[in-house]
Symmetry: C2
Subunit: 468 residues, 2 copies
Amino acid sequence: MQALLESLRTIVGDDGVLTDAHDLVTYEKGWRYGAGRAAAAVRPATPQAVADVLAACHKAGVRVQPMGANTGLVGASNPDASGAMVVLSLERLSRTIDVQPVDGVALVDAGVTLSALNEALAPHGLMFPIDLGADPQLGGMIATNTGGSRLVRYGDVRANLLGLEVALADGTLVSRLTRLRKDNTGLDLKQLFVGTSGLFGVITRAVVRVTPRPRQRVATLACARDGEAVLQLLATLQAHVGELLTAYEVVSKEALGAVLRHGSYERNPFQGEPPAYAVLIELSTALAPEVLHLDAALEHTLGLHLEGPHSGGIDDVLVGRADDFWHLRHQVSESLREEGAVIGLDLSVPRSRLAEFTEVIRARLAAEFPGVRVADFGHWGDGGTHLNLVHDRALGGADPAGFKARLQTLVYDLCVGSFDGSYSAEHCVGPHNLAAYQRHTSDTVKAVCSALRDTLDPQRRLGTFDLG
Amino acid sequence: MQALLESLRTIVGDDGVLTDAHDLVTYEKGWRYGAGRAAAAVRPATPQAVADVLAACHKAGVRVQPMGANTGLVGASNPDASGAMVVLSLERLSRTIDVQPVDGVALVDAGVTLSALNEALAPHGLMFPIDLGADPQLGGMIATNTGGSRLVRYGDVRANLLGLEVALADGTLVSRLTRLRKDNTGLDLKQLFVGTSGLFGVITRAVVRVTPRPRQRVATLACARDGEAVLQLLATLQAHVGELLTAYEVVSKEALGAVLRHGSYERNPFQGEPPAYAVLIELSTALAPEVLHLDAALEHTLGLHLEGPHSGGIDDVLVGRADDFWHLRHQVSESLREEGAVIGLDLSVPRSRLAEFTEVIRARLAAEFPGVRVADFGHWGDGGTHLNLVHDRALGGADPAGFKARLQTLVYDLCVGSFDGSYSAEHCVGPHNLAAYQRHTSDTVKAVCSALRDTLDPQRRLGTFDLG
């Protein structure tokens, strides 16, 4: 290890290698889950230095944990407990943001943060359309294929990725930084590195597609009587404003109630009781107001819905309250924690079944786990729901971990087995949900992942878990 | 082989197995390139029957060529010359078109044609947004990741694919027919089967994302002085009508001239000489005319451009002539063949370099291959250009194939090497462009493809070529 550290210092400079326990703390713990011990943290600043670091570790037989901004939620970016891994932090690989407006793309170093990219794009009237609460690095966003609030219009990271450069476990740098929107020449290698948590290689640079910033954006809040009404309103919007719908976010009464009880807010947008579901509708467009009056378009469409057969499901439309919605929405998680232990699940089901799924879960929990409440919010436009299970801490008894695991298994099995859903809609896979991965992944996928690891990282030097 | 044919008849019925030379003709020849000999053609009607056919062939040690509608342009759907392969036609696997409007998806058998799918979607106000001249089957579209004229708005097949079922070479049926828009649970297996020409497995069913049919569609024709002017107009449109731009198609003067000389048309939309580039602009929207007057939006935006700094590049705007454009556009290939031998190349470069690329190619050919003309048309919104090289048949001399290969190599090397382009923008890979694949594909991609074949088809029973 000492010889390796010497080599690493030669590659990245003395201040690029951290070994003091004090300095290592932030590299050892995941954002929400996961904690371990690192032998060192190494911070290369160029793609070639990343490759050289990997080559040195490979030669020394030392395992490596890549780390971006460490905002992931499945424990896939921290080292294991062995104390023998090197954390490869991409934080200094953040020099390059090359915006190419005519091509509508940007070439970025993997360590560039989402906010830094958007700052660089703004003067060109452009943006990277993945909208998240956290501020991850681009490499991490690709490795976890992040989704977010505007997926309904712009898709996930995969849909906005054109080119990729990856350093393999042995230090080979594989570069295909293409700006092409159309390139159909066999296997699209980059797809293997999207959403596979850095296990097949360390992302060093990427070419992403960027989007014109909208000239207009409007949002409003609708109060829905039940989940079916949420879906009916979505159908009207898709049919009548289609390409302009950029967000369709929903918060349940249970989640809103917790914020109203514990959160900080200036105005309660609801009169008395919150609705079963509060729905945020956001439209945006490149068109100027003199061509399209976006407010009027939204008003017209809501009018159509309220005159139509499903009008009964919408109790109220609160114009001008979108900011209040976001303000409340961002306080859900912390407010729920005031009310007990919270198990946060990141699920998706076909959107036609979201209402039914949520009801079935509520009924099953009431029968089998009385005292556990469901406080959900989510991206109903794409079938995503963050299902928070809230319960009194005492309910777990002497074995809270076992209690949590039984709850999780019940929900995951229902979601995947009975509703064709996913146990990880947008958080990706990692040690935190590895048991679900093992249980719900086909043998073919596992065999292919093993073959890919055998080819790209035969000594299994990258990461702390496996997909095979 | 006789024993195998008996087994196959048991699986698909007597009329599902063809062995007469007369019947086999249509299964032996590719649409434009490729010809071989088949031992038999087998036409299963269900996914399980496809799997059973593959299992029987696997057991018998017989190689298989999957075939969709056989509209591909790279020779990847016909058998080789051995006469020992079985052609597995998907033409009867076309019973299921299950439209699910709330989820915005359709579950389809792989043998369903694009036109049949769109017919089934129309009553729901939906469409599959991949717009092609040919009428392929869905399985073939996925295996070749087709692009088409509206990629600029809707993306390629990959971007519209949610779930996939594949029968592997040994008859294993791998089914993941998900309707989920968000499912982030490790390797996305389906990506391996997109654009890899059926070499990793035979696609049997798919879930595709479908799109509301626009309420309004308008198109107009602009006459551009040069390639730079085409790009400048595109920039204005993307900034001001953004999400409404659904096609941006360009035909060069050379291609237009051939149609005007040899084609059949009622009206020549141009006064005298055709322009350097005729540009078709199409906008469409889900919005109703009372909310957005689409004609006015287009007029407004063109007005902005013609008052702006790049107005000089646009000589004319021919309102109401879009149908004339398509009429001429569809006659380019046959008209060019009236003027000599035609080598049709399917290229892309970053769109910022399309104008420069086309000029450099013209100059290089004039210097090194005098007598070879460039008659190009393409999808400039996404950097795609169909570069037709037209020449007197006598120019090839005693070795026309060698002449063609030298021409192709010159253009491909310039495109890929000097312009970061692709030698196959939307036609995919097959025997027809395998030499270019070998020359321009990285060792890592080849190694990964070999590993995938070793895992999914170790005896190399599928197809007539390899990606490793």
